[in-house]
Homo-oligomer: 235 residues x 2
DNA sequence: TTAAATTATTACAAAAATGTGACGACGGTA
DNA sequence: TACCGTCGTCACATTTTTGTAATAATTTAA
């Protein structure tokens, strides 16, 4: 049974009719959908919550879909979101230009069945990398499928937030996150809590990790926190 | 993490009490604020100095806030200023119409904390940071992503100021900085500290770098300091 | 060489940042 | 209903960082 949390697809198109059609088709296929009618709105949605995949219309007023994709690619946080470009163009040149930034493209008119199929294909080959593969450092192991964390084969009891924190850390080792970034990516961009709340949850995470493993989560003074591996210290 | 020059927020509202409340809240959050009580005044303020973000009341006499936003969007100079619409309307129609021109909207009554949070979120995503590549000279390596510095793979414990100092030096090798320049670029242009304080921090940086690497930071007598690489000396 | 100018070093107290425990709120559940 | 786990926030403790002044060391100019 593939009852993971449903994938979220962000549909970016200026025509509401197309958005609606796609939304219905995708929701029937078991996806969650979010819509945006322009690039600015899309960026806002993304800031609020990272989608698992995006369908972007090539031709849009102001910022074109292509330009939106380029901007997404430049930002490390969004660079890995799989993209499907929706285009009416059939020319080879356009195809190639589009593929440089997109993972796939579909020319209008298109069959919904085909779209869904391609979408699933892309998710199949892009998600296992980050989301479903267990991450492991030393004897600490995080299993995204079972949402379980084990240390030396002992199961750790993590709260939901602790789990997401650890997952973010373990999938981005040696990267410092500010409290704001953590709030954005663990809590979600649309939740407003005190920055210091992060400290408390770091504390709780460290506590459940135990004395040995808690060293993995380091304080970066004046900045935030970092999951550090493979470095020697000389303090 | 607000060591950048303070952002300026232009508040446009016909009710002075609301303007004042917003101004106080925002200034407590570290922003500079400018106020305007109508669209004309707002345009004047903008002409005098471009704000980093605007909060605009939807309902205003004469030109409505929405109309003001539209005019701003039409002008290339002001089109990219992020906008937050302040509105009492809750209807879906209003939301959608508003979002076409604004980056976000907040319905009255609103929580100041939420407003500040959203405002920061908008600034965060409209001011994308450049891609940060590690800098490396010899066995000294500074990693902006992890905010860590290693010497021969040993992690150095730098304080925030030491880190920023070293980052400035390493990204501008062989360039001499005066103490004033260092204060501007490491401390930020809006703080007042003694010039001699720089000396102390240089000393601290040299100390944490260790005897070998401390030679990299050279004193330029009568001028300031310089990060020197690839040069041999024969005094 | 000496005196003046400049920088290095040290110590210390204030300020800032982070760690920590506790409390109440909230939703789910027996 | 009461219980339980989780969460956000606060108050207070602890640690680190920072600015400054005092003093030592060094360089420069005459």
């Amino acid at each position: 049974m593939s009852q993971q949390s449903p994938r979220t697809v962000l549909i970016v198109d200026d025509e509401s009719s197309i958005r609606e059609m796609l939304a219905i088709a995708l929701e029937m296929a078991g996806f969650k959908t979010v819509q945006a009618e322009n690039a600015a709105s899309a960026l806002k949605q993304i800031a609020s919550r990272l989608p698992d995949l995006m369908i972007v219309d090539w031709m849009m007023p102001n910022v074109s879909g292509l330009e939106l994709c380029r901007r997404l690619r430049r930002n490390p946080d969004t660079a890995s979101i799989p993209l499907i470009l929706l285009t009416a163009r059939v020319e080879e040149g356009a195809k190639i230009t589009g593929l440089e930034v997109a993972d796939d493209y579909i020319t209008k008119p298109f069959s919904l069945r085909e779209l869904v199929a391609r979408l699933k294909a892309i998710l199949r080959r892009t998600t296992p990398k980050g989301i479903e593969e267990p991450v492991e450092y030393g004897n600490l192991r995080l299993d995204p499928v079972g949402k379980q964390v084990t240390a030396s084969d002992r199961l750790l009891a993590l709260s939901p937030i602790e789990y997401r924190l650890l997952q973010l850390f373990m999938t981005n080792p040696n990267r410092a996150f500010s409290r704001t970034q953590l709030l954005d990516r663990v809590w979600g961009g649309d939740v407003y809590v005190e920055e210091r709340t992060v400290d408390v949850h770091i504390r709780r995470l460290r506590k459940t990790l135990g004395t040995e493993l808690s060293d993995l989560i380091q304080t970066v003074r004046g900045m935030g926190y970092r999951f550090t591996i493979g470095t020697n210290y000389t303090d």
